[in-house]
């Protein structure tokens, strides 16, 4: 498995930011087996980086490696969608399943 390069943009130490950081850590530990590099960037401290990366919404997770580039916004609480966004599909849903979980 190739190594993941992830950047998480947050705005200040809000509960939303904390949630996103924790969710991401959990997903990475469980699914990537430590094969990742993760950077957390607070746009309040580094507004120039937000400009360069065109960060409008926070939290924003950017998967730089492996390609393709992916952007995921939100506090990453929907694990299934995060994995989809990272191009990781650890399990396949039964196709006939409909409605809520």
């Amino acid at each position: 498995m190739s190594k993941f390069a992830l950047k998480l943009y947050i705005t200040g130490k809000t509960s939303k930011s904390e949630r996103a950081i924790n969710n991401l850590k959990n997903i990475c530990d469980e699914e990537l087996g430590g094969q990742y590099e993760m950077k957390v960037i607070d746009v309040l401290e580094r507004p120039q980086l937000a400009e360069d990366e065109k960060i409008l919404a926070t939290p924003t997770l950017i998967k730089e490696l492996p390609p393709p580039l992916r952007r995921i916004i939100g506090d990453l609480s929907d694990k299934e969608k995060v994995l989809l966004g990272l191009d990781l599909q650890p399990y396949i849903k039964p196709p006939q399943k409909k409605g809520g979980e």
Binding site: Y9, T11, E51, L56, R71, I72, I73, G74, S77
Partner: protein, 501 residues
């Protein structure tokens, strides 16, 4: 004492006419929403406020582009002569590119637009911006598809900018020219100022208008004002705001014809607007030619706008009356512009006339004929044009001769007469008079502001020497009404005639 000017601070936008209809510009530190359907000029409006703000008023601006990538914005601005890159180097402009990203977005829970807000706030502090422009906020709704959240976030951005003391301009789309103010209901919370731009198809012509729907706590002109867009930006034509403040002159200029000068009590006043009304072929063009000739002989400059004839026709016809327009043009005493009324909208005609007047600086203006322009616009639109034109030439102190073709051979009022007769200073009527089966021409000065004038209807004739005015018609009634009838000569006249023989 309540002084409106001190109640609300306003910043000028630099858009021609905008300060006039808003009594000074946009309210400082407030939020203005500019709405319009697609293609109404919202981005143009935003770009002009940006560029004029930087170049004329030395006002740093943060521009957030939410729809077009910043490179496209810069290229488009360059076509208008606005060099955004230079403003950026001069630290007068910061462009935040928040246009939609081709990389797909996956949403995984709670988020907000703090990233954008931080970028804007940071940029405002960085260049000490006084104005923030966001074009257009509708794009945020497409990018994130979460209407409630985006509305909340726009509100938060607006509130933050207000705290920073900057003046904010937001643009937004609407779906109908006359209907809900904006598509996403943003006007409900951006409550300071709402400006509506329209582009309505009327009589097969697009007519652009701007309306200040509201300007909280500040005076502004109400209603729609026509505007036009050119290579130099937006030009608003503030018609109902035109003031009657023109000075008046006692100096007279010649009409080019001694008899007519006599009829008007010594010639036209130098700042007068003269309307020559008559049916086709009655001598209107001749009268404008003699008027032009007299001015040029006097070394005054004349701008002639012809809407009915081509340049060659005009030169030939003038030559047949002994006026050599070509010579006058060579001496730069005269400028002839021939254009079809249908070539452009009335606003563009007005703008063109104004630009030509500013460039050529004529002493006299001839429009032959103003009634030709009636056919390309609605009555309301035409009236606005005429008022806009006449108030402008009055301000510039240009003696103007406008001709108007009456709809019927016998005379009658055209739209032109109905709308401009009150604005004109002199009205000259030309009419056909049928006497014993022969058509003769009659001329009469029916109005002459500030001066005595001949009230009789005189006969006139046209030959190679031009216009000749003869004796008044006798014993003919209702010429002006177009139904001349012979009346019996009075007793004294009859007696006089008897003894002559």
């Amino acid at each position: 004492m309540v002084n409106v000017d001190t109640l609300t601070d306003k910043i000028p936008t630099g858009i021609e006419g905008f300060e006039h209809i808003t009594y000074g510009g946009l309210t400082t530190g407030k939020t203005s929403l500019v709405v319009g359907t697609s293609g109404t000029g919202k981005t143009m409006f935003a770009m002009e406020v940006l560029s004029k703000g930087v170049t004329i008023f030395n006002r740093p601006v943060v521009f957030v582009t939410l729809e077009e990538p910043s490179d496209d914005i810069k290229n488009n601005a360059l076509k208008m002569g606005w060099d955004l890159d230079r403003y950026v180097t001069d630290k007068m402009l910061k462009v935040i590119d928040a246009s939609p990203d081709p990389v797909p977005l996956e949403k995984t829970g709670d988020y907000d637009l703090s990233g954008l807000l931080t970028q804007i706030a940071h940029s405002v502090k960085e260049i000490k911006a006084e104005v923030v422009i966001m074009d257009s906020i509708g794009s945020l709704f497409y990018q994130f598809r979460d209407v409630g959240l985006i509305r909340r976030e726009i509100f938060r951005i607006v509130a933050t900018l207000k705290d920073l003391g900057v003046t904010t301009i937001l643009t937004a789309e609407r779906t109908q020219e006359y209907g809900p103010v904006s598509k996403h209901g943003v006007e409900e919370f951006i409550t300071d100022n709402v400006i509506i731009l329209r582009n309505v198809l009327e009589e097969e012509k697009c007519r652009r208008t701007i309306q200040i729907l509201k300007m909280r706590g500040a005076l502004h002109s109400k209603g729609e004002f026509p505007f036009t867009m050119s290579r130099t930006g937006i030009h608003i034509i503030p018609l109902s705001a035109a003031e009657l403040k023109q000075t008046s002159s006692n100096i007279r200029v010649s009409s080019g014809n001694n008899d007519l000068d006599e009829m008007t009590g010594g010639g036209f006043f130098r700042d007068a607007i003269v309307l020559v009304s008559g049916p086709t072929g009655s001598g209107k063009t001749l009268m404008s030619a003699t008027f032009t000739g007299a001015a040029c002989e006097n070394k005054e400059k004349v701008l002639l706008l012809a809407y009915e004839e081509s340049r060659e026709q005009l030169l030939r016809n003038a030559m047949s009356w002994g006026e050599n327009f070509q010579n006058y043009e060579n001496e730069e005493l005269m400028k002839i512009i021939c254009v079809y009324p249908e070539a452009m909208g009335l606003e563009d005609h007005l703008l063109m006339i104004r630009t030509e007047i500013e460039k050529f600086k004529p002493d006299r203006l001839v429009i032959d004929s103003v009634s030709a322009l009636e056919r390309i616009a609605t009555v309301k639109n035409f009236r606005e044009f005429v008022i806009g034109l006449t108030s402008f030439v009055k301000e510039e102190n240009i003696c103007s001769l406008l001709t108007s073709t009456t709809p019927r051979l016998s005379g009658g009022d055209s739209v032109t007469e109905q709308h401009i007769s009150t604005i004109t200073d002199i009205i000259i009527l030309l009419r056909y008079v049928e006497i014993n089966g022969v058509l003769r021409r009659g001329i009469s000065v029916i109005k002459m502001r500030g001066s005595q004038h001949d009230k009789q209807i005189r006969e006139f004739s046209i030959d190679t020497g031009g216009l000749h005015i003869a004796e008044p018609f006798k014993n003919i009634q209702n010429i002006v009404l177009g139904i001349p009838s012979q009346s019996a000569p009075s007793e004294s006249e009859q007696l006089g005639e008897m003894f002559k023989k």
